[in-house]
């Protein structure tokens, strides 16, 4: 089904013809997000240049009953920003104003297209930053972070996006505008801000976002510990968490990831013979206190069997250690052309067993897995490298990924900690939630969007995942195996 020309003409009258893209090449640009094998050409792409233009466009779409998919930078990893031919992609990357920076109240008001790191840079002169730090933070937008309830390495200490959003102005799919929350963060009735954050664009579009800013730490220590086994590294994670130390970040990389990073331009000095390394960062506002915390963390690491524990001596070394971690996904491209980036969470004490189970699954299916993840949160990213041109390999990867998800669910975990459900995880939702709970979620969605025109087909399966995934176009050569080749947002 194509989009009514009257609707597109009316939209062009609002935003200007230049910002309505219907040609094949433009639509192709928006056919995937960070999950590049999920592919569908949208009916059109519209790029409003202001909040008011966006509101008028949404109202035109409502009038004509056209579905839409709001899209930030397109760095998401669950297919959440992919649209079918009957839908319009609303690109929000021109809504980039920081509307207010209020150091006294530690808050900022931004438009949805503001890039995550730009906000932190703007707040830095005041000794503040925007704490959620997904790996894609140099590209991803605050609006996208709100939609996905994005996380990042430092969310272990500072919390995920929902803990940093105080208020929202939202345009509902009907075109009505509502104000949720309050400038100080106190809910105005039920916590609708909390319900909206993480709704993956299915409730409407946040047009103004009030976020909390967090003081920058003035003292930081980053430790690198290496281990002979994943199990020992996992046990070290449990020991640190149970001890009461709250690291700013606690990240794990397995030997596969270590070696690809060290072979790449992102070489960080990780020991290439290690089975796993942990990056542990502690921070605060007092050098002595942070040094003490680092020493306590180092003691736990050594007791858990770390072969060595190294503290970054200077800022440049710390940045190199972090760059290696954040660029691991890209470096994994050295192994094969495609990559499945999985995202699941398990209880932290289950990490050693789950990591071993993942290794066993990988061995059984003959696939290569690189684990690089937020260990302190139990937020796993088992990444499977493969070549999409090999049908047998694709099939094995798909089955291995599904088994890994089941292992995480069986361990008391969940199917996504920060990437969202999108299309990719629809197939697991019924494994996690009973029909009553799924039905309640869908009913809530319909309160915000009775016709389900906002990001249709995402988050909640109707009866089975096949109905939903069947409604989207996939690359013929990729089946439904999700894969990324771009820099991911985790």
């Amino acid at each position: 089904m194509s989009i009514a020309s009257q609707a597109l003409d009316a939209i062009a009258g609002v935003v200007g013809p230049r910002w309505v893209r219907g040609d094949q090449a433009s639509r192709e640009t928006y056919a995937s997000d960070g999950l590049s094998t999920l592919h569908a050409l949208p009916g059109a792409v519209v790029l409003p240049g202001s909040r008011d233009e966006l509101l008028r466009v949404v109202r035109i779409l409502a009038h004509h009953g056209v579905p839409f998919v709001a899209r930030g930078a397109g760095t998401g990893l669950s297919g959440g920003a992919v649209a079918n031919a009957d839908a319009v992609v609303l690109g929000l990357t021109r809504l980039t104003r920081i509307l207010d920076l209020d150091p006294e109240n530690r808050r900022a008001v931004v438009e949805p297209g503001v890039i995550n790191t730009r906000l932190s840079k703007a707040a830095a002169p005041y000794g503040l930053h925007y704490a959620p730090d997904p790996s894609s933070q140099t590209a991803c937008t605050v609006g996208g972070n709100v939609a996905e309830n994005a996380g990042g390495p430092h969310c272990l200490k500072y919390g995920v996006t929902t803990q940093h959003v105080l208020a929202l102005e939202v345009v509902l799919p009907s075109g009505d505008v509502v104000e949720l929350g309050s400038p100080g963060g106190e809910p105005w009735g039920p916590d609708l801000v909390g319900v909206f954050v993480g709704s993956e664009g299915t409730f409407g579009i946040a047009t103004r976002i009030t976020v909390r800013l967090t003081p920058l730490p003035t003292a930081v220590r980053t430790l690198l510990a290496d281990f002979d086994s994943l199990r020992a590294a996992g046990e070290a994670v449990s020991a640190i968490i149970a001890s009461g130390i709250v690291p700013a970040a606690l990240e794990m990389m397995d030997g596969t990831c270590v070696r690809v990073v060290e072979a790449s331009i992102y070489r960080a000095g990780y020991p290439t013979d290690a089975a796993a390394v942990l990056l542990v960062e502690v921070d605060g506002r007092d050098e002595t206190a942070v040094a003490d915390l680092a020493e306590a963390a180092a003691a736990h690491l050594r007791r858990a069997g770390a072969r060595s524990v190294r503290s970054a001596r200077e800022a440049a070394e710390r940045e190199r250690l972090w760059q290696g971690r954040k660029k691991t996904f890209g470096a994994l491209g050295r192994l094969s052309p495609d990559l499945v980036v999985q995202d699941a969470v398990v209880p932290r004490s289950a990490l050693p067993d789950v990591l071993e189970a993942i290794s066993a699954i990988a061995a059984r299916y003959g696939v290569t897995v690189g684990n690089v993840f937020h260990a302190g949160d139990g937020n796993l990213h088992p990444n499977i490298t493969f070549d999409r041109r090999d049908a047998d390999q694709r099939h094995r990867v798909q089955r291995a990924a599904a088994e890994m998800m089941q292992v995480c669910i069986a361990a008391g975990g969940t199917i996504t900690g920060e990437h969202g459900v999108g299309i990719d995880k629809l197939r697991y939702m019924a494994d996690l939630f009973d029909p009553s709970t799924l039905g309640a979620m869908r009913a809530v969605r319909r309160v915000f969007d009775p016709a389900e025109r906002a990001n249709p087909g995402k988050v909640i399966p109707v009866r089975s995942c096949r109905e939903w995934s069947g409604s989207f176009g996939h690359r013929a050569d990729a089946s439904v195996v999700p894969a990324v080749t771009a820099e991911p947002a985790s």
């Binding site: 929902t162 916590d191 449990s238 949160d377 979620m441 319909r446 988050v459």
Partner: protein, 406 residues
């Protein structure tokens, strides 16, 4: 149906032991499991019985408009508690003090200090009550990983999970928190815990309201985020004049460094409280909070707290004689005292002009019914709230006062 007839009917449906002996109040049903809650609410939806959720019945008077009361006091199990994962599960009827003691026995801690030790965990959650630790650890919702909720029509929902990070599906737990039972009865909760801090330091300094507000802002401007940073009125602190209280938690060296940093920006030498003396600084105002019939919460910003305090004084408390705690980092004022519905409405209208929501936390039923917990919603939001209410409680059996007052 008469009360005795309804009591008989409930006993037939749920068993004699599930229904407490009646007095002058509507029958009290005390389920021991989720399935009984579900059966009761399913039946109530069919029969049109109006149900008041009451927890242990200690926090505020139940709605008088209900046909029956649903108490959670027998849903009182704690566990499992997993110190290694810093996660615990508790049934909603466990008493707040019992929960905290039970966690403490395992050397873990829930970073919340809401008042009312004898109330249930479900009461704390459903009323969205927080204490001073909100400064350092956020509102109560930040400590809830998942929960089970029996909706008004008896469906059992399991939302969130038992892990510390989770974005699978919509976060429906947020609807159950702070909404006074309007979406169902919370039966089970998964909580995020912390290890008990090694060091716990409380500082306090007396002064005038405005001097202490300024001092509190200086603490925040220095980049510190204390575990608690509260301005207490004389009635709350039980001392003269006002008091600024600061709580610091963490390792010994962290707390020692923060103590020095805080002292450096205070306008005089602070008193350093230890042990039971420190506990009293925090417990005293929380205990007295519940002696007055009405508690309201106004959500301003840190920079506008003085205006918010003026507004509260103007409409409720002139001259200041009542209980006030102001959480500086959150910009929240909590007031307890006696107030007429008209005074509360005036305060709410005045606060709304500043974009500050006013929540009626506690009050007798007739005040709640007249003023509403939240008052009138903003344009467009009322339709959403009513839609959500209808999807969770289609027959409208849950008696609540979150709907806009007439």
């Amino acid at each position: 149906m008469t009360r005795p007839a309804l009591t008989d009917r409930l006993r037939q449906l749920l068993g004699n032991e599930a229904v407490a002996d009646g007095d002058d109040a509507p029958p009290l049903v005390l389920p021991t499991d989720e399935a009984t809650c579900a059966l009761l609410l399913r039946t109530a939806s069919v029969e049109g019985w109006r149900v008041a959720i009451v927890g242990a019945g200690t926090w505020m008077p139940p709605p008088s408009a209900a046909d029956l009361r649903l108490g959670t006091a027998r849903l009182d199990a704690l566990g499992p508690v997993d110190p290694a994962d810093l996660v615990a599960t508790a049934l909603a009827g466990v008493r707040w003090d019992t929960l905290r003691r039970g966690l403490g026995d395992q050397h873990v801690w829930l970073a919340q200090d809401a008042p009312g030790g004898n109330r249930t965990l479900g009461s704390v959650l459903a009323t969205g009550t927080t204490g001073p630790l909100r400064s350092g650890f956020g509102p109560l919702r930040d400590q809830v990983l998942g929960l089970s909720l029996v909706t008004g029509d008896g469906r059992v929902l399991h939302v969130g999970g038992r892990v510390v990070k989770n974005v699978a599906g919509y976060d429906l737990a947020k609807l159950a928190l702070g909404t006074f039972g309007a979406f169902g009865v919370i039966t089970r909760v998964h909580l995020r815990l912390r290890a008990v801090p090694r060091a716990d330091c409380t500082l306090s300094i007396p002064g005038t309201r405005d001097d202490l507000l300024e001092a509190g802002r200086e603490v925040l401007a220095s980049g510190l985020t204390p575990a608690a940073l509260e301005l207490l009125s004389p009635a709350a602190a039980k001392s003269q004049p006002w008091l600024l209280a600061v709580r610091l938690l963490g390792s010994d060296t962290e707390v020692s460094a923060e103590q020095t940093a805080v002292q450096a920006v205070l306008p005089g030498t602070a008193t350093h409280h230890r042990g039971s003396d420190a506990a009293a600084v925090w417990d005293r105002p929380l205990e007295t909070a519940v002696t007055a019939p009405v508690t309201v919460r106004v959500g301003a910003t840190p920079a506008t707290l003085d205006e918010a305090l003026d507004l509260v004084a103007l409409h409720l408390d002139e001259p200041i004689a009542d209980w006030i705690m102001a959480t500086l980092s959150a910009g929240v004022v909590r007031w307890s005292g006696t107030a007429t519905p008209e005074a509360l409405r005036r305060l709410r209208r005045a606060a709304a002009e500043h974009e500050w929501p006013m929540t009626l936390e506690r009050a007798p039923w007739h005040v709640r019914a007249e003023v509403g917990h939240f008052g009138a919603y903003r344009e467009g939001v009322v339709r959403i709230v009513q839609g959500l209410r209808a999807s969770f409680d289609p027959a409208g059996v849950l008696v609540t006062s979150i709907d806009p007052p007439p």
